[in-house]
Amino acid sequence: MGWLVRAALAAELTLIMSGSSTAQPVVVTKPILVLPTLQWTATASTWKYAVLPDAGQINALLGGLNFGMTPEEVGQHLPGRSSALHWDDLPDAKEYSKDVRYFWLPMQAADRLTGPIQSCYGAPSSVNLLFFNQALFRISWRFLPDQKCPDVSDAAEDLYAAFVPIAPSVVISMHYTNGPAEVVDVTAPNAGPLISVRWQGRPR
């Protein structure tokens, strides 16, 4: 919640500079994320999504990747890969009780997967691609700070805000923190019990 910290500091500064304890604190803008609009029947008994998901927009947000792709297919979409990705070569993602494997790349090298991110993120930030049954089921953006970018919350918010308007029947998006890391997970809706698993590893 970097905006809040900055605003609190600004408020503190205002008080110090004014030399008065009666100075009004500054107003802090709170972001509001917009969920997909629901279209209700006249009896308000059932609803459907008012707008159908835009496949092109989702494809762009996922950098051309699709859930269900094999490691080999994913590898073909990643920039600068000299060797193919194979399930057997992938390390285990230990936060899962099932046989989930992953591949990661530095966020700075994942141009096609960082489109909505306008704010800064630290060099240790990464994009993690998670596979179950040899199929891609989750993309996990892990934003980490460094000296140049000590607060990555705005970058995570940029990305998350782009996924929230998409119906959870298409992609399930979540935003949480893990120590200094801000995590945005985007998961296939058919991933079952894997959906609720959060990254608990130590930031790299």
Binding site: A7, K30, L35, Q39, A44
Partner: protein, 201 residues
């Protein structure tokens, strides 16, 4: 006590009980038919030849992450739909609880724990007893026939944003309404604010 004062007392009692009676009806969960004559006869409002629907927007909040979500609910106009005096499509006078629950579900689909999702209009005791029971569904929504903007105003209680909701024609007036409600309810300076349009762009 004469007959006149008895009638006056009875009228006052009825006025006091009316919201409870209406709330009781709404909480039964039976689907309401919004085309019923009790909601009046609206006239058609069109944008580009398309009749405009009523939109009711809720603000809901993940109490763990402090993320606020706007959940827009759109209601189709009936075939003979007509606008009210302000030129807007009338919205249902009463909202079934299922609609508010759908707003909460929108938050829950992004939450680590479903119980973390609450309505953004919070009662006085929320900071010490944070649960959805200490929030208000009707207070957390604005209707497009009454307002163009919905706003939130909060104060920070430890790591938690404690908030209330307001409606208005402009972002400033909606924020002002939310701030007044928040500051009156909680007795704090509610300087964390935000707003969005009630209707989808």
């Amino acid at each position: 006590m004469n007959a006149c004062s008895v009638r006056r007392s009875a009228s006052r009692l009825l006025l006091l009980l009316l919201p409870l009676l209406l709330a009781g009806t709404a909480s039964e969960g039976a689907p309401q038919n919004f085309d019923l004559g009790s909601y009046g006869t609206p006239s058609v409002v069109q944008r580009g030849g398309r009749p405009l629907a009523c939109t009711v927007t809720y603000l809901v909040q993940d109490d763990t992450t402090n993320q606020t979500y706007a959940a827009r609910m759109q209601f189709d106009p009936s075939p003979d739909a007509a606008a009210g005096q302000n030129g807007r499509m009338p919205c249902p006078g009463m909202m079934p609880p299922t609609v508010g629950q759908a707003a909460l579900d929108g938050c829950r689909s992004h939450a680590v724990n479903a119980a973390d999702c609450v309505f953004a209009d919070m009662k006085k005791g929320f900071s010490t007893s944070p649960s959805v029971d200490n929030t208000s569904a009707p207070g957390s929504r604005c209707s497009s026939d009454q307002a163009s903007q919905i706003a939130i105003a909060c104060w920070r209680s430890g790591t938690r944003d404690v908030c209330d909701v307001g409606c208005g024609e402009e972002p400033d007036t909606a924020v002002q309404a939310a701030r007044q409600r928040c500051e009156a309810t909680h007795g704090k300076t509610c300087n964390i604010t935000g707003s969005v349009p009630v209707e989808a762009p």
